[in-house]
């Protein structure tokens, strides 16, 4: 399946001296090679419009150079409350870590367990350094270092509203899983390719005990239906995030997923 190639028609055969002709050819050569990188709203021309099996070569995601989404560097405090990013840190819950299903003999270990882990005071709000980070007002901050979401130039976050507002701090690994799965399943090419950036969109959904996303809805639209729909579809594509952590008492956890789309 040969790659599409733009063959630039060489309309005027120049009678300029060799140097001029060579220079012109060089320019064309460069254009022919790199012209393909100019985005051309080609849109959706995949699939079999031509009946009898128009099988088309594709690439796997790993070969698409996604920028390193390592935004964990900004250790923002795990915090559920809505509002400004400079919320007061909640002290960690004192309930015994119920997550260990190892029977009695370990009861002694619990006390030393808590003190053994040095209480890392949360690094101060480096959030200011990050320009398009926590929104003012609605939307909820990122939960722990894991709740932030990036895909390409798009940035966003997850707010988990469950338990006593400490879901994200107690079960940061679960937040991470949700982030990964949504990342994996969000197909940006479903968004209208003419869109380059958009207003923030807020998607609400719930995760039930067995990990299925339910009640997916658009809480605040970006104004662009294809963008809203691409996010909703990402969630619909996900069968399960895995069962909710055993230590979490609720039947479901509510999640708010927001992002600022940038192409």
């Amino acid at each position: 399946m040969a790659a599409d190639a733009d063959i630039f028609p060489h309309e005027h055969y120049s009678r300029l001296p060799i140097v001029g002709s060579l220079a012109l050819h060089m320019v064309l050569f460069a254009l022919a090679i790199f012209g393909n990188l100019i985005p051309s709203g080609r849109g959706e021309n995949w699939g079999g419009t031509e009946g009898g099996g128009g099988a088309i070569s594709a690439t796997l995601v790993s070969s698409t150079p996604l920028p390193n989404p390592q935004t964990e560097s900004q250790n923002v405090l795990a915090n559920e409350s809505k509002g400004l990013s400079q919320s007061l840190p909640k002290e960690a819950p004192q309930e015994e870590p119920k997550a260990i299903p190892i029977p009695a003999p370990d009861a002694k270990q619990k006390a030393p367990h808590e003190s053994a882990i040095p209480k890392k005071e949360p690094p101060k709000q480096v959030a200011k350094a990050e320009p398009n980070q926590i929104p003012y007002g609605q939307g909820g901050p990122v939960s722990g270092p894991y709740g932030s979401f990036t895909s390409g130039a798009t940035k966003g976050g997850f707010g988990f509203q469950g338990g006593q507002g400490d879901f994200g701090s107690r079960f940061a690994y679960y937040v991470d899983i949700v982030r990964r799965k949504v990342s994996e399943n969000w197909l940006k090419y479903e968004v209208d390719p003419r869109i380059n950036d958009a207003r923030r969109v807020y998607i609400y959904f719930e995760i039930n005990r067995s990990g299925q996303p339910t009640n997916v809805r658009v809480e605040q639209t970006s104004g662009i239906p294809s963008l809203d729909q691409s996010a909703v579809r990402a969630l619909q594509r996900i069968d399960t995030f895995g069962p909710l952590p055993a230590g979490y008492p609720g039947n479901y956890v509510a999640v708010e997923f927001w992002f600022d789309y940038r192409r």
Binding site: A2, I7, H10, G47, G48, L60, I102, P145, R170, S183
Partner: protein, 444 residues
């Protein structure tokens, strides 16, 4: 001058056609976390006592656990050379800071202890979120089995599967899954089984004639396969619980390539009972077979969409060389998927979205016959080539987690079973003795 320019222009055209990078491609997601950075997992050896029994079983446990987590496809296992010198055996010994900071720079930590006490193997294992100092524990498990090597491996498989289930977004790990395959090492082609990593290879059938195309039932209790019985090819059924063949109706003609629907209700297969090979569907006792296809040329190798059981893909030679087709499970809405070459052996992925198959894209007289494994998105027909070694790669089969594919390859000179991640990476050889082919991964 004119000639020079013409040559140069054709060089430009040539390089534009072949040298220019293709336009940004659409992509296929195979669910192995591609494009998302993998979880950095540190897996130090579990602490153990000093007696030789404990050490031996701990060694087996550690190797198995490491390999299972490595093979899962969703982790970036931190190299052991970066670990702090003393590995924790119980939670009090854990110093998260050591693991979170570079050089290990881990995201998650697996640790625990293994001991043999009075003929019993006891293992405690924890999974800690290194970056969450307030409540790091994600998992804590305890296991106890009779002390032997097989159990050391079994416990490691179970613990690895738990970790993979938790961190992999609710998809169970495959460490306890099995692969059924055909081996000639006993002299005749028989059905064999092995663990997903190639361990415990065991012969199942002892027909002495020829047994091919094994397919295990969704509940793992039976294997359907095609075998020569009384100078005829029949669908034969072997019960793994009773350890013997169980009855299945005989049909006229040549009966091949059985395939189970994932709900355990139906069996699709190829039969030439009406003269020309066609695809039939019968219930799992073999009653009431219905014909689905009706065309000249061979029709063989059906595979169900395991997510919906509403579609079947199969191979048909109705236009000449074999191609892959899909249809509804009542035979309607036939769609051709491949557009050229020689395409065989389709296998439908557990999430219902992808077909893996073997393809020779340019086939003809004198062609060397090299075939490769491809994966195609059913909805869009976009495909990706997974193997590139120029040998003969055939019979891909998906693992239950949808992240791995086992297949047969003759790249070492003899046909052997290999497995790889669904993006084509981490290929490893599972069999070595005799010739081994036609792998079928268990449903769970």
């Amino acid at each position: 001058m004119k000639r020079f320019a013409a040559i140069f222009l054709s060089a430009v055209i040539a390089s534009a056609a072949f040298g220019a990078p293709p336009p940004p491609q659409d992509w296929i997601r195979t669910g192995t976390g591609l494009g998302v950075e993998k979880i950095r997992l540190a897996v130090p050896d579990f602490k153990t006592a000093t007696d030789p029994d404990s050490k031996k079983l701990a060694a087996t446990f550690n190797v198995t656990l490491w390999n299972d987590l490595q093979a899962a496809g969703i982790f970036d296992i931190v190299s052991q050379s970066f670990y702090p010198l003393s590995a924790p055996g119980v939670p009090q010994e854990v110093r998260l800071g050591e693991w979170a900071a570079p050089p290990p720079n881990a995201g998650m930590l697996v640790f625990g202890n293994v001991a043999v006490q009075g003929g019993s193997l006891a293992v405690q294992g924890w999974l800690y979120d290194v970056k969450n100092a307030q409540s790091p524990q994600v998992l804590g498990k305890q296991y106890r089995e009779d002390a032997n090597d097989d159990n050391a491996r079994l416990i490691a498989h179970r613990f690895a599967d738990e970790i993979i289930f938790r961190l992999g977004g609710g998809i169970p790990g495959i460490a306890e899954s099995r692969i059924y395959f055909v081996s000639s090492r006993s002299g005749a082609k028989e059905i064999w089984q092995m663990d997903y990593d190639g361990a415990n290879q065991k012969q199942i059938t002892h027909l002495g004639t020829m047994a091919l195309s094994p397919h295990a039932s969704p509940d793992g209790s039976r294997i359907a396969f095609s075998g020569v019985s009384n100078v005829e090819w029949q669908i034969l059924m072997y019960s793994l619980e009773l350890n013997r063949a169980v009855s299945f109706p005989r049909f006229q003609g040549t009966n091949l390539s059985p395939a189970w629907s994932s709900d355990g209700k139906w069996l699709a297969f190829s039969s030439s009972r009406a003269g020309d090979s066609e695809i039939y569907v019968a219930d799992v006792m073999g009653s009431n077979p219905r014909r689905l296809t009706n065309s000249k040329g061979p029709d063989v190798s059906p595979t169900w969409n395991p997510k919906t059981n509403a579609q079947i893909a199969w191979v048909s030679g109705r236009t000449g060389l074999p191609q892959i087709y899909t249809m509804e499970s009542d035979g309607t809405n036939v769609v051709r998927m491949t557009d050229q070459g020689y395409a065989v052996s389709p296998s439908w992925s557990p999430n219902g979205q992808l077909l893996a198959f073997a393809w020779v894209r340019h086939y003809g007289p004198g062609a060397p016959g090299a075939s490769d494994i491809y994966v195609m998105d059913v909805a869009s027909k976009q495909w990706v080539q997974l193997t590139h070694d120029g040998g003969r790669n055939d019979f891909p089969t998906w693992s239950p987690d949808g992240r791995h594919i086992a297949f047969q390859s003759n790249r070492t000179g003899k046909t052997q079973i290999w497995s790889m991640l669904a993006d084509g990476s981490q290929a490893r050889q599972l069999t070595t003795a005799g010739q081994n082919s036609q792998p079928n991964w268990s449903f769970k």
